[in-house]
Amino acid sequence: MDINQFVMDFAECFDDTDASEFSSNLRFKELEEWSSLSGLGIIAMCKKKFGVKITGAEIMESDTIQDVYDLVMEKRG
C-alpha cells in the first residue's frame, strides 16, 4: 500500500471537500468539513481496508494524512 492510495482512501471519508485538495501533507483537521464524525469515518476505513484499529485520540494527535498513514503502517507491522 503506497501513500497515494491511502490519500485517496482518506479523501473518500469526506463528502464536501474535493479529492484534489488531499495530499499526504494535508492538515486534515483544518478542513472546513472536519468533524468528529469524519474521525469515525477514518477509523472505519482503517479497520475495513487494513484491519487496523486506531483510536480517536490517535487521530487527534496526528496532524497530517502522512501521520495517520505512518501510524497504520506501524500497527500493521
Binding site: 468528529s36 464524525l37 469515525l40 477509523i43 472505519a44 475495513k48 483510536t55 480517536g56
Partner: protein, 332 residues
C-alpha cells in the same frame, strides 16, 4: 416449551426537539449537516417530573389496548432502565401497582442500556422455559435526557427518550431462538454518568468544554464517541457470527437485520464492514433518535407495520458496559 414475542407497542413523550430547535440553540454548529449524517431529524424528550415509570406505564397500557391483552395474564414484569425513579424500590414494583397487575407477579429491574432489550428477551425466555412464568411483560424505559447537560449538542442530537412494552409468551408471531451475550467492563469509563450513586454521591462540578465546545462533565452523561465506535466495529461482526452459529444458520438465511439504532452513520459503517445488503438492513430512527434500550423493539414494531418481519430476523444490541447480545427471531 418455546417462547415467542406476542406483541410490541411503544410510546414517545410529547415534547419534540427538532434539528431546527437545535440549530436555534447552537447556531455556531452545523447541526443540520451532522444530524443528516447521524440520521436523526427529531427526537422526543420527557417533561420535567416525567420519569421512566411514567413512560413505562403508558407503553404497557398501550400494549394492552392495541393488542387486546388481558392484563391479568401477566405473571412477570421485567423493566430495563438506567434512569429509575428511585434507588429503591425498583421501578418494576411501581409499575406492577400502577398497572393494577396481580400480586402473583414477579417483578424486577435490570440496569442495561443499548443491549437491554436483548438481555430482557433472554431473561423472559429463561423464565418461561423454566416454568416460572407464562406471560412476561418486558418494558424498556429510558430518559437519557435527564442525564445530559443541556449544552451537550452531540448527545442531544443523537439520543431521544422513549419506552417500549413487549409481551413474551408461550405463543406469538416471533419465536425466540438462541442467544449470544457478552460483556467487557473494561470499557465502563467510555459511556458513564459518574456521580450521583454510591461511589461518588456528591457532584464533581468539574465541567470543562472540549475543542468542539462540547461539555465534558462527571455529573452528566459522558460518551467517548470514537471509543464506542471502535468497540462496535470490533464486537458486532463477531456477535453476529456467534448468533448465526448458535442458531445453526448461515448468513444467507437471515431475512432482516435489526440492530440497535445507535446512529445511522455507525449502522452504515457496520453494514458496509459486514457486507449486509441495504434491503436486509432495517433502520428506523429519524423521528425518534437513539432511544437506548427501546431502539430494537421500536424498530421491530415499525418493521412489523411495514410487513417486513418475516422469516429469520437477527437482532443485536450493543453499548454501555460494554455489554452486547443478539439472537434470532423466527417470524411467521
Amino acid at each position: 416449551m418455546a417462547s415467542f414475542i406476542k406483541a410490541i407497542s411503544y410510546i414517545l413523550p410529547d415534547t419534540i426537539v427538532t434539528n431546527q430547535d437545535l440549530v436555534g440553540e447552537f447556531p455556531e454548529w452545523s447541526v443540520d449537516k451532522i444530524a443528516k449524517k447521524v440520521g436523526v431529524v427529531s427526537r422526543h424528550v420527557v417533561a420535567e417530573g416525567q420519569c421512566a415509570s411514567d413512560l413505562a406505564e403508558q407503553a404497557a397500557r398501550k400494549l394492552f389496548f392495541e393488542n387486546d391483552i388481558d392484563k391479568n395474564c401477566i405473571d412477570f414484569v421485567l423493566l430495563c432502565t438506567q434512569s429509575p425513579d428511585y434507588f429503591l424500590p425498583t421501578t418494576a414494583c411501581l409499575l406492577q401497582d400502577r398497572l393494577g397487575l396481580g400480586t402473583h407477579c414477579g417483578a424486577l429491574d435490570f440496569n442495561l442500556g443499548c443491549s437491554g432489550f436483548v438481555y430482557g428477551m433472554a431473561l423472559a425466555k429463561g423464565l418461561i422455559e423454566s416454568d416460572a412464568a407464562r406471560n412476561v411483560l418486558l418494558v424498556t424505559a429510558e430518559t437519557y435526557s435527564k442525564h445530559m447537560h443541556n449544552r451537550d449538542k452531540g448527545n442531544r442530537t443523537i439520543f431521544g427518550d422513549a419506552a417500549a412494552a413487549t409481551l413474551v409468551s408461550t405463543s406469538g408471531f416471533a419465536e425466540i431462538g438462541s442467544f449470544d451475550l457478552g460483556t467487557d467492563g473494561s470499557g465502563c469509563n467510555n459511556l458513564i454518568v459518574k456521580s450521583g450513586a454510591m461511589r461518588h454521591q456528591n457532584r464533581f462540578d468539574d465541567i470543562a468544554f472540549d475543542k468542539s465546545g462540547n461539555p465534558v462533565s462527571s455529573d452528566h452523561l459522558y460518551m467517548n464517541g470514537s471509543e464506542i465506535f471502535n468497540f462496535t466495529l470490533e464486537t458486532v461482526p463477531d456477535l453476529v457470527e456467534n448468533v448465526l452459529r448458535k442458531n445453526r444458520l448461515g448468513k444467507e438465511s437471515i431475512d432482516l437485520y435489526v440492530f440497535h439504532q445507535a446512529n445511522k452513520y455507525m449502522l452504515d459503517c457496520l453494514f458496509d464492514l459486514m457486507e449486509i445488503e441495504e434491503e436486509k438492513a432495517f433502520v428506523y430512527m429519524s423521528e425518534v433518535g437513539n432511544t437506548v434500550s427501546s431502539t430494537i423493539p421500536i424498530a421491530l414494531c415499525e418493521a412489523k407495520k411495514e410487513q417486513r418481519l418475516s422469516g429469520n430476523v437477527l437482532i443485536a444490541g450493543f453499548g454501555v458496559g460494554y455489554s452486547w447480545g443478539g439472537c434470532v427471531l423466527t417470524c411467521k
